[in-house]
Symmetry: C2
Amino acid sequence: MALEGNMIIAQSGGPTTVINAGVQGAVEEAMKHSEIKEIYAAHNSILGVLKEEIFDLRKEDIEDIKGLSMTPAAALGSSRYKIKTEEEIKKIFNIFKKYNIRYFFYSGGNDSMDTADKINKLAAEENYDIRVMGIPKTIDNDLAHTDHTPGYGSVIKYLSTMVMEAGKDTEAMYTIDTVNIIEAMGRNAGWIAAGTALAHRTEEDAPHIILLPEVPFNRERFVDKVKETLDKFKRAVIVVSEGTKHPDGTYIAEQKGEFSKDSFGHKQLGGAALFIKNIIETDVKVKARFAIPSTIQRTGMHFASKTDVDEAYLAGKSAVQKAVEGVSGYMITFKRVSDNPYKIEIDMAKLSDVANDEKPLPEEWITEDGFFVTKDFYNYALPLIQGEAPIRIKDGLPSYIRFKKHWVKL
Amino acid sequence: MALEGNMIIAQSGGPTTVINAGVQGAVEEAMKHSEIKEIYAAHNSILGVLKEEIFDLRKEDIEDIKGLSMTPAAALGSSRYKIKTEEEIKKIFNIFKKYNIRYFFYSGGNDSMDTADKINKLAAEENYDIRVMGIPKTIDNDLAHTDHTPGYGSVIKYLSTMVMEAGKDTEAMYTIDTVNIIEAMGRNAGWIAAGTALAHRTEEDAPHIILLPEVPFNRERFVDKVKETLDKFKRAVIVVSEGTKHPDGTYIAEQKGEFSKDSFGHKQLGGAALFIKNIIETDVKVKARFAIPSTIQRTGMHFASKTDVDEAYLAGKSAVQKAVEGVSGYMITFKRVSDNPYKIEIDMAKLSDVANDEKPLPEEWITEDGFFVTKDFYNYALPLIQGEAPIRIKDGLPSYIRFKKHWVKL
């Protein structure tokens, strides 16, 4: 028998270009099922439940719902709030009961899947019928049990484009701006930095060197590699992952010892690019520029991967379909059937399995010298960036939606 | 009588998204005129003349010529080489004679126009018939005698989009990433930073504060403005021009005194965003992120202004047309006929006039509090970002051209 009741959806963790497409997929699917009554959004992830900051998605303009897949970041609001206690899980559960929530969809990474799992388990203990489903999300692509995560394709498509374009700049200006360093996100794994290899179509194309968190930084070998690149091409474009580490495991961005704190006494974070710039100017004695795209790279809706947006939509839609069919306690996953032609199938993994695992960049996809990735990585990543997602344009700039947020007061 | 002989074209200074479109306009126009024999390119600006690194554009694939307006940076190569002596001008002139150069087109800013002017004058003194024309170029938009410069529309279209997208990120994540700072290029004038105001469609939209080189930085007033913004919107997105200065005229990026050199003893350049971040974390006590798009902002071909690309093409084409008609010693300029509907006419200015003048951001276009720009600026800038220029896509990423460079050996 169909489970009747209300639905709530939330977005957690760092935004991606396509996390809203997942919400659109879920909401549009939910609207087809009469057993799903109210469709609520929790403001700023699970925080919105704890604080009862909940708004009504059925009251939003339908054009705004349709605009979700053409809007980056997190239209429901997000946060990095971590559930710390059993008390909080109980509180969430009680609020769910109060609002007659029978369908809970949580878009996020490991921590979010852990939270969803705990709520699902508590509900089972308390014999409260609810369907809890995870929708995978992270630009970092480090969620286990899925071929890839929505958000990854778009971040590497956009960042590759930036590297390609900045590479053309360096190619034009090498007589003065000889080295260019671009800092990629990814604190724990090199997936994002590795993705910029897609811009490197010929030996001469940027990036020439990729510094990955998986490969301990060796100043001498790096400097040799830069010199070798300059000998060949008179320029070098380097992508450095913010997660790149010294052999002792500390981040190069931390600037310990020789690389001190800034003059405010703050630790220099986001400083991986600056660290590399300083080494090049000191050891190679050529001018180096650097760029830190920061959050810009994860919100590049104006040049997002259509494949990624479509898959994110499908993940959200599938989560609702599975829930309506009676599934609970799983996250939607992608299973790759083939690279060429590219084909995926929707699958599922237990929330607890996703919560406690992670997917590193395979060691065998890193070249022997540690400064690039192999053809196997290329075959894996290339299908994920195909197509350009449509956006709305107004007066020469993108037009992104903002919900009116009709707050639910019980 | 038509002046028969060879043509040379060069690109100088920092790349822009559309500088190659000007070359395409010039080359395609030149191909229509039988008096123009060889069509040469000087590699890396005037340096290519001095070093006789000259390549033959007639030998390039026609598809690559057509691809120029769909390729950012400087396909001929550029540099910041400055002509320092009369000797060098004479050397250039002699090389021009050697290669029978009768048409010289130079795309660049003030310094380039000064070089072109000196060559033109020397040729006149020596009774050597040559047509020298300037093609305006600079993302900085500070060339005098023209309504705007090719390159400006595209840099502000793309940077506005970045600010809009990063703004959506901050809107989603304000509970942790409360302030976001984006550093804009523009060492001498605030045109680029000001341009990001186009993303600010409602009071709530990023950017909320723009720091301009024209307004001396006042820490206390700035901090008050940030606090006021946080009170209203719980977040603040700040665009800081790299050219922002202390009241004593030194750049905030220089980090003098309290803001010392880095641990290598290097001056901290590109540090305007970091300076502002430190002030916010110290005085406002909220977390601030920052992004430094650096050269990425000036090469965003994948989201360039069609208006800008078309005008750049027209500037190149017009320069050749004027030269063939007998004009020499002028730079092509744009004269705005009306804002709405937007209409420009091609005009000209003396090279010497352009060389010795600059166009500041009008003081009356800066709001009274100094933290934003007025509606008049908006009316000026909006037409410049209209339309999206087409690009070639291959395997999900842009496909940009690279010349084969058939070197000319005399």
